[in-house]
């Protein structure tokens, strides 16, 4: 397939081998070479994991049986929190520059538009609530970032055409057998992070299972390139004439690519549905007989809402779809996967440095299982609303849609996907009990730090990737050390808070505050004033030593 981009004909990015197989020294070693961390899978989650580790100075090798970015757009909706994580990893800007921002949505029922909504994103954040971006661009920018890190000498290696075919999980290390065009070789690693997707071969090879349920439904995705005058909005149809009894979705991506999703039911002939003439019939019924378009990608998917019982087993840790799967409604797949690696990378780096006990990994399970359960709950509810599982469920669903056209009260009940928000790690063993009761609930211990404008920049950009002691109109030393960990102070005052957002998001009714912020920008503890012993105890607690 050829397409015109940037003035001349070029290959699609997903057709270009970005990391072709190349022979490496490990293949000629007499004994299996040893690595600190091996990441299995070079999708968005594996690349995010490897970049985060490399930026912390951890030597990491990424293994993927493929050699290019994902085929087709796949995950297309990225939320604010993952964009903030990407900023920390040094590659948020190209995503936002290329991505399509949207805030408006319309909901249709049968032949009528029943209402529209504006996400009305809160002001005072550097990043938008959401962008739409094809997964292949997302991966391309991550590979670009990885290459830039390599050029700076970061200890990160990306090996294409390298399929992990055996995993031996030990007490001290894991051994991987990797198949290549030149035959198999073995390596060992202190830790293996499996980011190899929903069908995770690593999970299967270790005989680990999933709990949860499969939904009996199929969705046909068609990505079409067309010059269309639809606005940049999310349009969702319940029971439209062109897809009776089912749902449909229209959403814009960059380069005039439109994501169209048709719910098509459980009992279908997959091959027939994917024939271009059948997709063409559906598209014309939906968009008009005279549309002109080029089909970029199509796929049929079914989905499951389930997770592993534990996210790590011995020396193998699971992240992203390999650990948990959700329905696509609400954009919680790739978004939650990046929050997994955000949570995991600093913990693993500290463990490898000998600064934190291995038991710190248990908090990865606790915190990210909490996140996975929240995502599974939300996306399961959306699925149940979109595809009611019983007659009575459909009766209520249709009643909600009928009422939503006339009455405001029914609109919050319409559920075509609750868009992804980061979860708050309430009850995490790493949290120190809240000592700032007058502070805002949104920044309580366990919460991800909300962004706020500061002078010409933004707060989150100042946090970096280590422990931070954020003081607002409060005295404290420039750094605090506990057990070899150092928290560096960032001193702020209401004077540089022209918009008032900092006070609203971090002070509430309090006049001063001190926050201990983790390397993943979640709040570990907060107080009204500095107390050296309390801060040191909170640091120890946040690295699993209390």
């Amino acid at each position: 397939m050829r397409a015109v981009r940037g003035g001349g004909p070029v290959n699609k990015i997903f057709e270009i081998p970005l990391y072709p197989y190349a022979r490496n020294a490990d293949q000629d070693a007499a004994m299996p070479a040893h690595h600190r961390v091996a990441v299995v899978g070079a999708g968005p989650i594996g690349l995010g994991m490897a970049i985060d580790l490399a930026m912390r100075g951890v030597e990491v090798v990424v293994l993927d049986d493929n050699d290019r970015v994902s085929f087709g757009s796949r995950a297309v909706c990225y939320a604010k929190r993952p964009l903030e994580i990407l900023d920390r990893l040094g590659c948020g800007q190209p995503m936002v520059d290329k991505g399509v921002e949207w805030n408006l949505g319309k909901v249709f029922f049968d032949t009528r538009q029943i209402y529209d909504f504006n996400l009305l994103p809160e002001g005072g954040h550097e990043r938008p609530a959401f962008i739409n971006l094809q997964q292949y661009y997302f991966e391309e920018y991550l590979v670009d970032r990885l290459r830039a890190l390599q050029a700076e000498g970061a200890p990160i290696d990306l090996r294409g055409g390298s399929k992990v075919v055996d995993v031996e999980n030990g007490n001290e290390r894991a051994t991987l057998t990797i198949d290549t065009p030149d035959g198999p070789y073995r390596i060992t690693a202190d830790w293996v992070v499996a980011c190899d997707g929903a069908a995770s071969p690593t999970r299967r090879m270790l005989g680990l299972d999933f709990i949860g349920k499969v939904f009996e439904d199929n969705f046909l995705i068609a990505d079409v390139i067309m010059q269309a005058d639809f606005p940049t909005e999310r349009w969702f149809w319940f029971d439209p004439p062109f897809n009776r009894g089912q749902s449909a979705l229209l959403h814009k991506q960059p380069d005039n690519v439109w994501r169209i999703d048709f719910q098509i039911g459980w009992d279908i002939d997959r091959e027939a549905e994917l024939k271009p003439e059948n997709i063409d019939r559906r598209l014309r019924a939906m968009l008009g007989q005279d549309i002109r378009y080029e089909l970029e990608w199509s796929s049929i998917y079914t989905f499951q809402c389930r997770r592993m019982e534990r996210f790590h087993e011995g020396r193998v840790i699971f992240a992203g779809d390999a650990a948990h799967q959700v329905s696509p409604f609400g954009a919680r797949g790739a978004n939650s996967g990046l929050q997994d690696t955000d949570n995991l990378a600093w913990k693993l780096a500290l463990i490898l440095d000998g600064k934190a006990p291995e038991s710190l990994l248990d908090s990865y399970d606790t915190e990210r299982i909490h996140g996975a359960d929240e995502n599974i709950r939300n996306s399961t509810r959306s699925t149940d609303f979109i595809t009611p599982k019983s007659d009575i469920s459909r009766i209520f669903r249709d009643a909600v849609l009928d009422l939503a056209e006339a009455y405001d009260f029914a609109r919050p009940l319409v559920n075509s996907g609750r868009l992804s928000l980061p979860c708050i790690y309430d009850g995490s063993p790493l949290n120190t009990p809240d000592a700032l009761p007058d502070g805002p609930a949104r920044s309580r211990p366990g919460a991800p730090c909300p962004d706020a404008p500061l002078g010409n920049g933004y707060l989150l950009r100042r946090l970096g990737g280590g422990f931070t002691l954020l003081t607002i109109d409060a005295e404290a030393p420039e750094s605090v050390a506990a057990d070899g960990m150092v928290a560096t102070r960032i001193a702020l005052s209401k004077g540089e808070d022209a918009s008032g957002a900092l006070a609203e998001r971090y002070l509430g009714a309090a006049s001063a505050a001190i926050y201990l912020i983790r390397p993943d920008q979640h709040v570990a503890a907060r107080w009204p004033a500095y107390d050296a012993a309390a801060v040191q105890a909170a640091i120890r607690r946040a690295i699993g030593k209390e």
Partner: protein
């Protein structure tokens, strides 16, 4: 006080909706209809205001034209 509330008024609406649907789990159509009827009567009694109930009946019968 006889205004019918038609603006959003249920905290954690998704939780409520999930509980409402779950209340029907495993029931036959006839049992579900009966549950709904009992529920309407219980809620009506809780409201206890004839004018509000009359407006609610009209709103349910012809949404937007009560």
């Amino acid at each position: 006080m006889n205004d019918l509330t038609l603006t959003a008024n249920i905290p954690d609406a998704d939780d409520f909706y999930a509980e409402l649907i779950a209340a029907h789990d495993g029931l036959t159509k006839a049992e579900s209809d009966a549950l709904n009827a009992r529920l309407v009567l219980i809620l009506a009694n809780h409201i206890g205001d004839r004018a509000v109930l009359r407006r609610a009946l009209a709103a349910a019968r012809n949404p937007g034209k009560e």
